[in-house]
């Protein structure tokens, strides 16, 4: 849809008339605010798919090459820097590092474009814990528990839910429940608590984060062969409230319907978090106005001298003992060959498969969930009947996952304008179809969808919306479908082929900061071991 000259003219006349009559506050139902359509650079991505790149015009050398600047690539680079490796370079296709953790900023606030929080890490997530200490987010230790900077912990209240026209605190419904609902909810959460506390004979938790440290007990791994819905059916839990809550959580963490989520992954969402802290509860999360863009930004700042942006890596291969990385420089429109002693390939698996010649192992059934993220700038914070504004605001009946408030961590007693980050996983259509829709539909289509959903949830937002910026994620996250996690494909894809080493949260089957960090750090340590570079593992 393009704006015709006539509508534009009519619009400006109406606008002038509105100003003239002093009725500027009035907003027509059709009027859409300005905004931009953004997303992972589809042109660069598709050129990669089509594979037409000029041959390299020059050859460069370094010790370690890192391909991809998402959290996995940044974590690999961080580990190298920590170990004193100096000759490493990180090549990023986009103009900014951070991957899913990238963020935006306008005059009102910084805001996330994707990932927006990090839970208090589990005790076994030693690498992340160390990173948080280095970043000053963990400020000390008391009785073996980390002390977190209180300003970076999500302020109370964290979440609220709109149901039957009233906001209640928390995301699990507490009112209007039938006996079945109550029974099933209690039974479900009790079972999750059981899973959370379970350890195997070797002392490994049933569900660990990083998931590589989880128990391999057969009855647990068997959960990966069925879907979350099948597992709930087997338990006999049919409460629509419980099922809707589980659906919300599966879409929230995996962008995928519970019928298509591995039960192992589904349970991991509820039973995997065992964090504890000296100065907060274990279920608190860390967050920032720009979401995980804060973490990505802090990491990238330290590594700035090593990061090369706008570099589309189109081929990675090993030549004898060397790794050869060919990339296209978007600025000079020339290709460059980088020859390294080792390479960490930290791209999503669907990219890695194309880059690595000879194909990386396990070129199997990796699927990706498409997401839409909108950043909505409003004149004043929304309210509504019942419980007041929280950080995360969810409507029981909305197709979206709700919105988080960018200025929630602020200390202003009366925040005025703010930015609401609105999330929609396109989980109710097949991923490929959803991706096509995502690319085909114009900005106005998505803006209208976001506006209508927000006003339905918060009628008080009518007339306050100043911008709606849309961000499209075609391959937002890996879909942990049944079988993906424990049928061996994942591990096969992560297996190093020296001098090539592989890193990405895809290799865990779950798009989580800690998993990306684990694989990035692991791959960097494997590379350093390969190069006989002394280092202390951050993972154990």
């Amino acid at each position: 849809m393009t704006v015709s000259r006539r509508t534009l003219l009519a619009g400006s006349v109406a606008g002038a008339a509105a100003v003239g009559t002093g009725a500027v506050a009035w907003q027509s139902a059709d009027a859409l605010p300005p905004g931009m359509l953004g997303g992972a650079d589809a042109v660069r991505g598709h050129r990669l798919r089509d594979g037409h790149f000029p041959e390299p015009v020059r050859v460069e050398h370094c010790d370690v090459a890192i391909v991809g600047g998402g959290i996995a690539g940044l974590s690999a680079a961080w580990a190298l820097a920590d170990a004193g490796v100096t000759e490493f370079r990180l090549l990023e296709l986009e103009d900014r590092a951070g991957g899913n953790a990238r963020s935006g900023r306008n005059a009102v606030s910084a805001f996330p474009l994707g990932a927006h929080y990090l839970p208090i890490p589990n005790p076994e997530a030693k690498g992340v814990m160390r990173l948080l200490e280095q970043l000053g987010i963990i400020t000390g230790w008391q009785a073996n528990k980390p002390v977190f900077d209180p300003y970076q912990l999500a302020s109370d209240p964290e979440g609220r839910l709109l149901r039957y026209g009233r906001w209640q605190e928390g995301l699990v419904p507490t009112t209007g429940l039938s006996d079945t609902d109550r029974h099933d909810l209690i039974a479900f959460f009790a079972t999750m608590k059981g899973f959370s506390g379970r350890r195997d004979a070797a002392g490994r938790p049933a569900f660990a984060i990083p998931m590589a440290l989880s128990s391999r007990d057969p009855d647990l791994l068997a959960l990966d062969t069925i879907s979350m819905n099948q597992w709930l059916d087997e338990q006999g839990w049919r409460s629509p409230v419980l099922r809707a809550h589980v659906r919300y959580c599966c879409r929230d963490d995996y962008g995928t319907e519970p019928a298509e989520v591995s039960a192992w992954a589904g349970i991991h969402y509820f039973a995997g978090r065992r964090g504890s802290a000296a100065n907060t509860d274990g279920d608190t999360v860390l967050t920032w106005p720009e979401g995980n863009g804060y973490l990505a930004g802090r990491m990238a700042a330290r590594l700035a001298g090593h990061i090369e942006k706008g570099r589309t890596v189109y081929r990675v291969r090993n030549e004898g003992t060397k790794a050869v990385v060919d990339s296209y420089d978007e600025a000079t429109k020339q290709s460059v060959r980088l020859i390294a002693n080792a390479a960490v390939v930290a791209t999503p698996h669907f990219i890695t498969r194309r880059l690595v010649q000879g194909g990386s192992a396990g070129a199997g059934n990796f699927e990706y969930a498409p997401w839409l993220v909108a950043n909505v700038t409003v004149d004043r914070a929304p309210g509504g009947p019942g419980f007041g504004l929280a950080w995360d605001n969810v409507s029981w009946t909305s197709r979206s996952l709700g919105y988080v408030v960018a200025t929630h961590q602020g200390l202003d007693p009366k925040p005025g304008a703010t930015v609401l980050t609105w999330y929609l996983p396109l989980s109710d259509v097949a991923p490929a179809d959803a991706r096509r829709e995502l690319l085909a539909k114009p900005l106005e289509y998505w803006q209208a969808m976001v506006r209508d959903d927000l006003i339905q949830t918060n009628p008080d937002l009518a007339g306050t919306i100043r911008r709606i910026d849309i961000w499209r994620w075609g391959h937002a996250m890996i879909r942990p479908t049944p079988g993906l996690l424990w049928n061996g494909e994942r591990e096969a894809a992560a297996k190093p082929r020296p001098p090539l080493f592989f890193a990405h949260s895809d290799l865990s089957g779950m798009s989580i900061f800690e998993e990306a960090h684990w694989h990035g750090t692991r791959a960097a340590e494997e590379a350093m071991a390969h190069l006989n570079h002394p280092h202390v593992s951050a993972l154990t």
Binding site: P150, Y151, L153, S155, D156, P157, G388, L411, P413, K414
Partner: protein
Amino acid sequence: MARDDPARGFGGTRAGAALLASAFVVATCGLVYELLAGTLASYLLGDSVTQFSIVIGTYLFAMGVGSWCSRYVKRGELQVFVRVEVLIAAIGGGSAAVLFLLFDRVQDFRLPLYGLVLAIGALVGLEIPLLMRILKDRLEFGDLVAKVLTFDYVGALAASLLFPLLLVPHLGLMRTGFLFGLLNVAVAIALIAMLPDRRRLRGELVGAILVAIALVVGFAASERLQRFAEVAAYGDPIVYAASTPYQRIVVTKRGSDLRLFLNGNLQFSSRDEYRYHEALVHPVLSRVATPQAVLVLGGGDGLAVREILRYPTVRSVTLVDLDPAMTALFTRSGMLAGLNNHAFSDPRVHVVNADAFRWLKANRRRFDAVLVDFPDPTNFAIGKLYTVSFYRELARAMGPRAVASIQSTSPLVAPRAYWTVATTLEAAGLFSRGYHVYVPSFGEWGFHLASPAPIGAAGPLPTGLQFLNAVTDRLAFAFPPDMARRPTPVNRLDNQVLVREFEAEWARVEG
């Protein structure tokens, strides 16, 4: 023409008496609505002379308009009269409720106010001319004028006596409105009932019954409506009201008693605020050897600063209050600046309009005494100002022997909330000592002293205090069992237990 008149056959002395009685009722009602509008206007807008004059003038003018318009009623006077009664019942009866509900929600309150006054006045103005015409065939002209006007004036006397003596004190403005609306509608229904051919007025009857039901519901729901219309709760005439980006400021005055309300919550009454502010300030400053630099967080009314300036050693007072409208009001308004002894005009006082938390985080100065006078933690935004993170920033702003006091709500009503402040201060590494005083307009009220060093006994107090002396200072630190310290959690940004406790404990009292 006569065939169309539903009043045909409406005769006899019974009907005549009924019509004269209705002249009495409508006169009473008419004056009550006028008094309601005048009272409401002076109550909500202040300056009762102006408000009453304009309302009475407008109302009388509108009555004239109504009388003039009666000439356009060519036939069916009784039917029109019944309709007018039903309309007055609806508009006049609901006027007080509507005005209360609109007060906070409209840009200019005078628009709905005078709109309603004009509408009611015009309708009331129609009543007497119509009545006279209905009665004109039954009475000789001289008798007619004498009788109708007599009932009219007696009705006015009744209204003007009933209104201040009985109605306002016992029913309140809203219910008075609804009650007199019911009287108007009763007149309409009674007249219809007395008609021989009442089917012709079936539409009017249905309308009258619907209005009657609405008025009864309104009367019954008045208390709930009052709660909606927060201004109705102030109880005293409003002399100043303003909405700032941060809060609604309302000042009321009855006699010599000035009261400040922020968002409907009483901040002080000029009758007993000395108890509160002496208790906030002197236990702190008398425990600092030579207080020079003093910080006040909140307290935009300047009353705490007035107490601080009693100490000749004080060289500077920094007051950080969010709302520039508050500090400006208490600087410029002669009446209010008189209360704080023109503290904001003192060269030692520096007013900073900023959010206290952000200001404190950025602050690098150290103070000898700090007074923390925030509103009660009624929401999560204010709750942040009572967290351990805030008190850590506070501790950074305190010299090694500095003392602070913190307004901490009522230890009698909300003992868990009150002692949570103590636990939280201690978690921030400060020593704390709770104390409480009785402030009649608040009830039993609590504070905490906080200091990086152990807190000792009070030093000499300034002269001229009305409440605090060596004995009352010592007594304030004793807590009877019903307010005694109990184990409480630490209030943090990420748990905000204080807001939840505060709400639960106050809800128990307020029901």
